[in-house]
């Protein structure tokens, strides 16, 4: 088998909180191949963003740290690599776009300057060459009249346009991996669709692998080939998107899917009431306990779930589920 582009193994990220040390990511493993797109799904506070920040080496200083496990990017171990090397990788090989396009651009520089800056820092382009590339990139992310808009300040752009600028910046150096942390959460639905189309097109053109972090099952179905469902810092279920939506093997995934109206509507003709996954994600201090953390919200809970953390059960086509009752779901 070919070596995956990014191989995360038994990753454990700890946060120091007032109640002590909590594993926000607990024994997470996954692979990402070149040009593949993978999606992290889960509620707020499940560790999706922490995974992204962990890969980028941007965990909150002095609070978060990678306690054990490995993040291997293209043969390089990112958990032990020097800060200098990590800075060279960030923005060049792995780049990231953020949730809030309104605040993730620097208000005092024009968008052109910000895009050009990335190119000059990583690719050593001259000022003029970087500026021209910035115009091309704005054009590529379909900002009309790029030549003029390149000298606009962020406040002169709408939310959707700013997110496009972020994408242009992230893709400026043709990275191997693009991490998109809830890229459309702050945008309205029509703009969301445009952004996803854009990301899909750019992925086809550049061969960039995409890690999409979202809580929107619809976005996953549209964007990703494989998905990882996260719950309370652990991988609940992994596998091909179609297969998981078709037949989830974890009660949490099942709950998430039944929360999305249009996916259900495709499967059945009758109008079911929209369901919800009752309850909330356990507090951080309960993370890492040797039991199924979803048990308190699960309809299939048994004594076994409360006594021991469920192991990964493997299914066909790489689907796996961390549930004692995976077979029965």
């Amino acid at each position: 088998m070919i070596q995956p582009l990014l191989k995360v193994q038994n990753l454990r990220i700890e946060l120091t909180t007032r109640d002590g040390i909590a594993p926000v990511i607990d024994d997470l493993s996954f692979d990402l191949g070149a040009g593949e797109s993978i999606s992290f799904v889960g509620e707020s506070g499940c560790g999706k963003s922490m995974t992204a920040l962990g890969i980028m080496g941007l965990l909150p200083e002095k609070i978060g740290r990678i306690a054990s496990g490995s993040i291997n990017f293209n043969g390089e171990e990112l958990t032990t690599v020097s800060q200098k090397r990590l800075r060279a990788i960030r923005g060049n090989d792995i780049s990231m776009i953020f949730q809030e396009p309104m605040t993730s651009l620097n208000p005092v520089y024009t968008v052109g300057e910000q895009i050009a800056e990335v190119l000059r820092a990583h690719q050593g382009l001259s000022k003029a060459a970087a500026w021209n590339s910035a115009i091309e990139l704005l054009d590529a992310v379909r900002i009309p009249n790029a030549k003029r808009r390149v000298s606009d300040y962020p406040f002169q752009m709408s939310g959707g346009q700013r997110q496009r600028v972020m994408i242009a910046m992230a893709l400026a150096c043709k990275p191997k991996i693009l991490i998109a942390d809830e890229p459309t959460t702050a945008l309205d639905v029509t703009v969301q669709a445009q952004i996803f189309d854009l990301l899909n097109d750019l992925k086809r053109q550049t061969g960039t692998a995409i890690i999409l972090i979202t809580h929107d099952m619809g976005a996953v179905a549209e964007m990703a080939e494989r998905m990882i469902v996260m719950y309370a810092g652990r991988g609940a279920e992994q596998g091909p998107v179609d297969q998981i939506i078709d037949h989830p093997r974890h009660p949490y995934t099942k709950g998430l899917i039944s929360c999305v109206p249009h996916i259900v509507a495709d499967l059945t003709n009758e109008r079911n009431d929209l369901t919800e996954v009752a309850g909330i994600v356990p507090p951080l201090r309960e993370f890492g306990q040797d039991r199924c953390l979803f048990a308190s919200r699960c309809s299939m809970v048994s004594q076994q779930c409360l006594d021991k953390r469920p192991p990964e059960m493997k299914f066909e086509a790489g689907q796996s589920s961390a549930c004692w009752h995976a077979e029965a779901v």
């Binding site: 980028m56 941007l58 200083e61 002095k62 800075r87 060279a88 990788i89 960030r90 923005g91 060049n92 780049s95 990231m96 953020f98 949730q99 809030e100 605040t103 993730s104 651009l105 620097n106 208000p107 005092v108 520089y109 990335v118 820092a121 990583h122 009309p144 009249n145 003029r148 808009r149 606009d152 300040y153 406040f155 002169q156 752009m157 709408s158 346009q161 972020m166 910046m169 992230a170």
Partner: protein, 294 residues
């Protein structure tokens, strides 16, 4: 009904540049605008006055204590018969240069200390802020008097003495702005695109922290001029260079007999510092986003 048209770029691009908006706000502030005009005049006087009015302020040109307007001396003469008009015009340069240089020095120290403390946090912050507090609790006038008295009353030393006691406010403002801005998403985004710490500090965060620092710096020019006047009044000044404070200081014995000899330079200081304060105030209103919502 037809769909509303897609918003074209031209329509969105009508949002205005923050600096244009700040200028608009500043222009609406009449006091600040008048002060700006006065300040500009004072600057012009400081720059070209000595060439237009070349009388040496140290020359004894007439009888002592000639009141203003008498014998052709608009502002009169002092106890040695020196022309006060010449002293005001030539002294403007020193007062303003010291004011600007001392303010520049304290901004430089304050921004550096505040930026390092606010960016790196941890022990760096602890150390730098304790040092800042040390300087804050020193009695400022006394401390600068000691420096000038020990190292000599030359212009650079007076500037240094004023700068070294007044940077603490800038350091604290800079630190607080850094603490706020470093957590903003665009800083994380820059970090994620591989920016070094130096770049994050001075290229990404500092430009966004500037507005309150600019306001503070403007006000500091005024307080530095006052400070210099205070030191001169106490005699801690370069006796070979005329400044407004020095004129007050050298004439202070005659305050009852010839009050105009101290009033005239006093008014010069008063007008200049007031103008600077009003401009600073106007800048504060214009650059402070909280006051901008009308």
């Amino acid at each position: 009904m037809s769909m509303p048209p897609v918003i074209q770029t031209e329509e969105i691009a009508t949002a205005r540049h923050p600096m244009a908006e700040a200028w608009e706000m500043f222009r609406g502030n009449h006091a600040a605008m008048v002060a700006l005009v006065v300040l500009t005049l004072i600057m012009i006087i400081a720059a070209i006055g000595p060439y237009v009015y070349p009388t040496d302020p140290f020359d004894m040109v007439w009888a002592p204590f000639s009141p203003p307007g008498v014998d052709g001396f608009i502002l009169g003469t002092d106890y040695l018969g020196r022309d006060l008009m010449a002293a005001i015009i030539h002294g403007a340069r020193v007062s303003i240069v010291i004011g600007l240089a001392a303010a520049f020095m304290s901004v430089f120290i304050g921004v550096t200390v505040g930026a390092l403390a606010g960016f790196y946090r941890g022990w760096v912050e602890e150390l730098l802020m304790r040092v800042t507090e040390f300087f804050q609790v020193l009695p400022t006038l006394l401390f600068s008097m000691v420096i000038v008295a020990l190292f000599g009353a030359s212009l650079p030393m007076i500037t240094f003495a004023i700068g070294i006691v007044s940077w603490t406010a800038v350091a604290r403002i800079t630190r607080s702005e850094f603490l706020r801005i470093r957590e903003l998403e665009y800083v994380t985004a820059s970090r994620a695109s591989g920016a070094t710490n130096a770049k994050l500090m001075f290229q990404i965060i500092l430009p966004n922290a500037l507005p309150p620092i600019i306001v503070q710096a403007a006000l500091m020019v005024g307080s530095a001029i006052l400070f210099e006047a205070g030191l001169s009044f106490l005699g801690l000044t370069d006796p070979n260079v005329v400044s407004w404070g020095q004129v007050i200081g050298s004439n202070r014995q005659y305050i009852l007999d010839a009050s105009y000899t101290v009033t005239v330079p006093g008014i010069a200081i008063f007008v200049t510092v007031l103008a600077i304060s009003l401009v600073g105030d106007g800048l504060n209103d214009a650059l402070n986003p909280k006051l901008r919502q009308r």
